[in-house]
């Protein structure tokens, strides 16, 4: 199963309420047959821009990231569900790519040589 990352911004709430929202979200994932790998808290910060969602303007939010494995079919349903959740400001699901080998990194010299050749 491909590996996904759900990075979600929650409304700035107190701890028990945030915990309840996260619990809800993870339970939704389980219901749809996803295997949750881990949950990370990226901190509560001031949003880079005001987000108006569910008839309310928000300036602060809690950032969380959920790592999970799932079938691609559930993603649209999952995003739809999260959009309807009042406490979730911005849900985004990304595919986690396999890391590119670093051995090929930085052919600065090769690039310059190539550009010189093409310019001639």
């Amino acid at each position: 199963m491909p590996r996904y990352e759900l990075s979600v911004i929650l409304k700035a709430m107190r701890r028990p309420e945030t915990a309840a929202v996260l619990r809800r979200t993870v339970e939704t994932l389980f219901e749809r047959g996803a295997v949750v790998r881990g949950l990370e808290n990226l901190g509560e910060r001031r949003l880079p821009y005001n987000i108006s969602k569910h008839n309310c303007l928000h300036t602060h939010g809690g950032y969380f990231s959920v790592d999970f494995h799932a079938s691609p079919k559930i993603l649209s349903g999952l995003l739809d569900h999260l959009e309807r959740d009042i406490d979730v400001l911005r849900p985004t699901v990304l595919k986690k790519d396999v890391e590119v080998s670093e051995a090929q990194c930085c052919g600065l010299q090769n690039e310059k040589a190539k550009s010189n050749v093409t310019s001639r």
Binding site: I9, P48, L89, T92, E102, C105, G107, L108
Partner: protein, 136 residues
């Protein structure tokens, strides 16, 4: 010196005579080398890697993973006045990393991690990678 030139003259005068090595300063050296061959081979330059070889040129972000969550790193490549992403000629990154950075910045902006029109004031004091002089 005169003896050497004289011996050369003799050789030129009588070319058909068998040239026997004479015990002159020049000849003594040739005599020695003919007996001990390995000496000549030791005189040859030793094959080794270039000792003055410089390390391969890399860009700043070589071997550093670029992530959309790492807003501080990404903010170093945007203008503090307008929040626009700097071009390759400004950042000095290699093609691959420049693409990664610009993709990550756009991702971060749409996901609500990074601002579009400005640079986070917390990151204003970060070291200047791009080397641009801003009016103060």
């Amino acid at each position: 010196m005169f003896a050497l030139s004289f011996s050369r003259l003799l050789l030129q005068a009588f070319p058909k005579q068998p040239v026997t090595p004479r015990a002159t300063a020049q000849c003594i050296r040739s005599l020695k080398t003919s007996q001990q061959d390995p000496l000549e081979k030791d005189d040859m330059p030793i094959k080794m890697e270039n000792p003055y070889k410089q390390p391969p040129k890399t860009c700043i972000l070589c071997n550093i993973t670029v992530d959309f969550k790492n807003v501080q790193l990404l903010s170093q490549f945007i203008s503090p006045h307008t929040g626009r992403v700097y071009g390759r000629h400004t950042t000095g990154l290699c093609g691959r990393k420049q693409k990664e950075v610009s993709k990550a910045i756009k991702k971060a902006r749409s996901m609500g991690f990074m601002s579009v029109t400005l640079k986070n004031p917390q990151f204003m004091k970060d070291p200047d990678i791009c080397g641009i002089k801003h009016f103060e």
